[in-house]
């Protein structure tokens, strides 16, 4: 087992997909044999509180989401660098820790800047 960790992960993935597909397939079979599907123009229209849906849902969206995504991306990358540091932390000297603190502070600076600019306030 330990020598093939990914094999287990792949097996789990396959199992999980099968777990999802099996009931869907069963439901499909059920529909095939017993309960016929009855699609229709009204039934398969978009739901909107009982009204006919006006306009498209696929519209241009609010840029506020984008700002958060950028900040998230930056911090996600930061986490990638923090993780090895954290693992090695117990064996590291104070100097290395301070180096990481500097790394952290540099990023926090960006955060504080964004905060002060009012970016972290959802529009």
């Amino acid at each position: 087992m330990p020598e093939h960790p990914w094999r287990t992960v792949i097996a789990l993935l396959i199992g999980a997909v099968a777990f999802g597909i099996t009931p869907l397939a069963l439901a499909h079979l059920w529909a095939l044999y017993f309960s016929p599907k009855k699609p229709g123009p009204e039934k398969n229209a978009i739901y909107e509180c009982g009204l006919e849906s006006k306009g498209d849902a696929w519209i241009q969206f609010d840029p506020a989401y984008y700002l958060y995504a950028i900040i998230f991306l930056i911090f996600d990358v930061e986490a990638i660098f923090l993780l090895p540091f954290a693992v090695a932390f117990t064996g590291l000297s104070m100097g290395a820790a301070i180096a990481m603190l500097v790394f952290l502070l540099l990023l926090v600076e960006g955060l504080i800047w964004a905060w002060q600019k009012g970016l972290l306030t959802w529009a």
Binding site: Y66, I70, L73, I74, D76, V77, I80, F81
Partner: protein, 108 residues
């Protein structure tokens, strides 16, 4: 073909797919995506050489260079993606288009 060259071929193909996309697609976003793919291909090369290259055997001091390089590369790519997409957004705001050809046309 040994594993290393297989990796390199795959990376080269990936790079070229990205290149083809970046060159032929008119959407600036996809151009950026193509560039990301090319960066990914480069990362793959780093990893391949780290894994199969002789460097690790030669110098334990440099055994992790490939990995660390990929980490840095990921960081740079992320920064690039953030700024690039923001740029596209900013351009889109003024030209109402992120079509590369249109943008150049508009600039005259």
């Amino acid at each position: 073909m040994n594993p290393l060259s297989a990796c390199l071929i795959v990376a080269a193909f990936l790079f070229c797919v990205g290149l083809a996309g970046a060159l032929s697609r008119s959407s600036a976003i996809l151009v950026l995506a193509g560039i990301e793919l090319m960066l990914g291909a480069a990362n793959l090369n780093f990893i391949a050489f780290w894994r199969y290259g002789a460097l690790a055997a030669v110098s334990p001091f440099h055994s992790l260079t490939g990995i660390v390089f990929v980490l840095f590369s990921i960081g740079v790519a992320a920064a690039e993606a953030a700024v690039g997409l923001a740029l596209i957004l900013a351009i889109y705001r003024y030209t109402k288009s992120c079509n590369v050809t249109q943008i150049t046309e508009l600039k005259g």
